[in-house]
């Protein structure tokens, strides 16, 4: 275990930091928000050209063969800039689910296109009744002559805008368990409703009304998709947590600067002990969250799937709650200006609020941890 960045990791972080600071200023981001898109296609191409999309993809499929640590470095820096492009949703969540479940042929065909940014897929797993968790799944994939017919709904598909295909979790009646199918976004019978989220990103609600796909749409074995889905989700959660750690860092930096320039009662407000102690608590919250992220990375590298999922759930709830708390305090310490749309600190809070609800809320993951601990105590 080593917490120090290698020189390569440092270079990766520097390149992201430079990009976010220069090209993704708050003003540039605001312009993108006003354009009403989930980031820009140009930016996605740039991410690909810089190797960020392929960083953690295997070399045999056109990736750089890096690890989840590389993903975390990238996501954390993107989180500092509140970058809108769906890096977590498409380059991590969907890509890692595909890697965990696809056949060699499917991966050989699709992953290189994910790596070079020419093809984007999104993961459509959540339903109204699953609240961001992988289960239960009610969407049906009924076997028909040479494929499947899909009927049902997916509630909040991240990175769906601009995705050319979806990985869809479904029940196949003859194969108990969860199956994953790759469905092109333009299939007849599939309608996508685009929904704005509080943080300026977009998601889609999908309605499958007898959507037909071929037998080759099935990823892996019928009924055997859950473990791969969980693995993809675990990767996505870690990336989302890393984004939030970056967001907390930036919020704390911006707030510390503000406390030195804002004057009341004739002195900088940072001279007040109440505010100094609040800043110390925010820093403590951030560092505990960072360590929780490290615990998740440790579990991803070393533990069995059950322990991995429990640890990742623990990190999701701890880090999301930390981010809401720290970013909320960022607003508080700014006073009125923190409430304005024109100022950046409120946007970090919005992202934290949304992130808490994505991929299973803190409450859901807390319940998952509790259930895992109960199972362990019963054994």
């Amino acid at each position: 275990m080593d917490f120090e960045f290698t020189s390569e990791q440092r270079l990766l972080q520097d390149s992201l930091r430079r990009y976010v600071d220069k090209a993704y200023s708050f003003e540039a981001r605001t312009a993108l928000l006003k354009a009403g898109k989930d980031g820009s296609a140009d930016n996605w191409g740039l991410f690909a050209a810089n190797g960020w999309l392929m960083a953690a993809l295997p070399e045999e499929y056109g990736g750089l063969g890096g690890t989840l640590v590389d993903t975390v470095i990238i996501a954390q820096e993107l989180g500092r800039g509140l970058v809108l492009e769906p890096f977590m949703a498409c380059a991590v969540l969907a890509a890692q689910t595909l890697l965990a479940t696809g056949s060699e042929a499917q991966k050989a065909r699709l992953v290189p296109q994910l790596a070079d940014g020419t093809y984007r897929i999104a993961l459509a797993y959540g339903e109204a009744g699953s609240r961001g968790m992988p289960l239960p799944v009610t969407l049906q994939a009924e076997p028909v002559h040479d494929g499947f017919r899909l009927s049902g709904r997916k509630s909040l598909v991240l990175g769906a805008v601009g995705a050319k295909a979806f990985i869809v979790s479904a029940q196949i009646p003859q194969a108990p368990g969860i199956s994953l199918l790759l469905v092109d976004a333009d299939r007849p019978g599939l309608t996508c409703q685009t929904l704005p989220l509080h943080d300026g990103t977009w998601a889609q609600a999908l309605h499958f009304d007898g959507v037909e796909v071929g037998a080759d749409a099935l990823l892996g074995e019928a009924g055997q998709g859950l473990s791969g889905l969980r693995q993809g989700l675990a990767n996505g959660i870690v990336a989302l947590c890393a984004e939030l750690v970056g967001g907390m860092e930036k919020t704390i930096e911006v707030t510390a600067d503000y406390l030195k320039v804002r004057q009341q009662f004739g002195v900088p407000i940072g001279s007040f002990q109440a505010l100094q102690h609040r800043m110390a608590d925010m820093a403590a919250e951030l560092e505990l969250a960072r360590s929780s992220l490290h615990a998740a990375l440790d579990a991803m590298a070393n533990d069995d799937a059950v322990t991995r999922d429990r640890t990742v759930s623990a990190s999701k709830m701890l880090i999301c709650r930390a981010a809401k708390s720290v970013c909320g305090q960022g607003i508080q310490l700014h006073g009125g200006i923190g409430m304005t749309e024109e100022y950046l600190v409120g946007h970090y809070y919005k992202r934290a609020v949304v992130a808490d609800l994505l991929l299973g809320s803190s409450d859901s993951h807390e319940a998952a941890c509790a259930a895992a601990l109960q199972a362990q105590l019963r054994a």
Binding site: M1, F3, E4, H277, A280, A284, S292, T311, C369, L377
Partner: protein, 398 residues
């Protein structure tokens, strides 16, 4: 950054486990370790470690220590805690020892280092005074020069284990005419010297570790001065900066989690184990998540400390705040989980067994003592409020 298991550290863990399993007698294991162990046990444990060549587990090799890295020290403490060995005399191993190694004369080392290794000289710490807590530099206990002696007058407070100590290391004022920090000196005093009175202070954990210690014309040889006159404040800063990763008391936090799970499996609610109650299980999940994060934070601080990176100081302050708060929350969770049994004042584990056993004594005894004692964790070693001030200043220049 990587999260590959450290094979050499795991091999070291096996070595420590082997020693604890094969060479430590059963009556030196399974002890309650929250407070300092009784003298006889400390001495036996110390001699056993010295025989093994581990007599000073926290010191560098050149001072007769093991030369273990900070991560190794954490493993050693963790395994000793899991086995329930007695404690060492932490005052000499973690506070005075490094001071002696760095500042003492050869004569002073010859006098005080050998007894560390035979465990026959126990120490206590004389820093705080009734008027000098967080503002330690305002201390008023005076040492006036009289020939080859200092004459010490004044009062120390919160002197843990002074009633069972052979020597005390003491901060005294030797100069009234300079800035308050510059007038402080560091003295070693034999507790048998005439004029020393120790009065017990019973604490809310229903035990006696704390004392007031009075000095009435106590004559201390000048040879017992460490460093020069007026060096006391610098030595104190050195002493207080000596450990960061271990302030979390991680082995104790892990013990609290084990105990909490045991309570959850032992007590029954509606013919089911307590852990089946959603409220208990959710609380356990929250505490477990935080414990995992604290464990990683300890590892991070340990590695910074190992590299002598000053970032370990600020991160150590953060760790101290959060780990000590977690100590309090976990022991409170234990009491809450015990419900009716949580309200009972069981006899202190260091006291004799009651004639008629209390209900659930094996499970519940000692838990409330830990919980009440843990209120001190956010006060000693720099209060949480002092730590917050340090963090705001060091991280944000506020």
């Amino acid at each position: 950054m990587d999260f590959q298991p450290d094979a050499s550290l795991e091999a070291f863990r096996e070595q420590v486990r082997g020693f604890l399993r094969d060479q430590v007698p059963a009556d030196l294991k399974g002890q309650q370790r929250c407070t300092r162990s009784p003298r006889e046990q400390i001495t036996r444990w110390q001699k056993l470690l010295t025989e093994r060549g581990w007599g000073a587990p926290y010191w560098p090799k050149e001072h007769g220590g093991t030369g273990w890295s900070v991560p190794q020290i954490l493993v050693f403490d963790d395994e000793c805690s899991a086995a329930g060995t007695p404690t060492l005399d932490g005052f000499v191993h973690k506070m005075l020892g490094p001071v002696l190694n760095s500042f003492a004369t050869p004569e002073q080392k010859a006098e005080h280092l050998p007894p560390v290794f035979n465990g026959e000289r126990l120490w206590c710490q004389g820093f705080s005074e009734p008027g000098a807590g967080s503002d330690l530099a305002s201390l008023r206990t005076r040492a006036e020069r009289d020939g080859d002696h200092y004459v010490v007058n004044g009062q120390k407070i919160w002197t843990s284990y002074a009633h069972d100590a052979d020597w005390i290391f003491l901060l005294v004022r030797t100069n009234m005419d300079v800035k308050k920090q510059a007038g402080i000196s560091f003295l070693l005093v034999d507790m048998r010297t005439p004029g020393i009175t120790v009065r017990p202070i019973r604490s809310i954990d229903d035990a006696h570790h704390l004392n007031e210690t009075f000095f009435d014309n106590v004559r201390v040889p000048v040879a017992n001065l460490i460093g020069g006159e007026g060096q006391g404040w610098n030595i104190t800063k050195f002493l207080l900066n000596n450990e960061h990763a271990t302030v979390a008391d991680l082995p104790e936090l892990k013990r609290y989690m084990r105990e909490l799970r045991l309570i959850g499996s032992t007590l029954q609610v509606d013919d089911q184990p307590l852990f089946e109650q959603p409220g208990f299980a959710l609380k356990l999940a929250r505490l477990d998540a935080e414990l995992q994060a604290i464990e990683m934070l300890v590892q991070r601080v340990a590695r910074l400390e190992q590299q002598h990176n000053p970032a370990s100081h600020t991160l150590g302050s953060i760790l101290k705040i959060r780990a000590t708060e977690l100590q309090q929350r976990m022991t409170e969770a234990q009491i809450e989980a015990l419900a009716d049994y949580g309200a009972i004042a069981y006899p202190h584990p260091h006291e004799a067994d009651p004639q008629q056993p209390f209900p659930q004594q094996a499970l519940a005894r000692g838990i409330s003592h830990d919980m009440f004692l843990r209120r001190a964790s956010t006060i000693y070693g720099g209060t949480s409020e002092v730590q917050r001030g340090i963090i705001a200043k060091m991280l944000f220049q506020l």
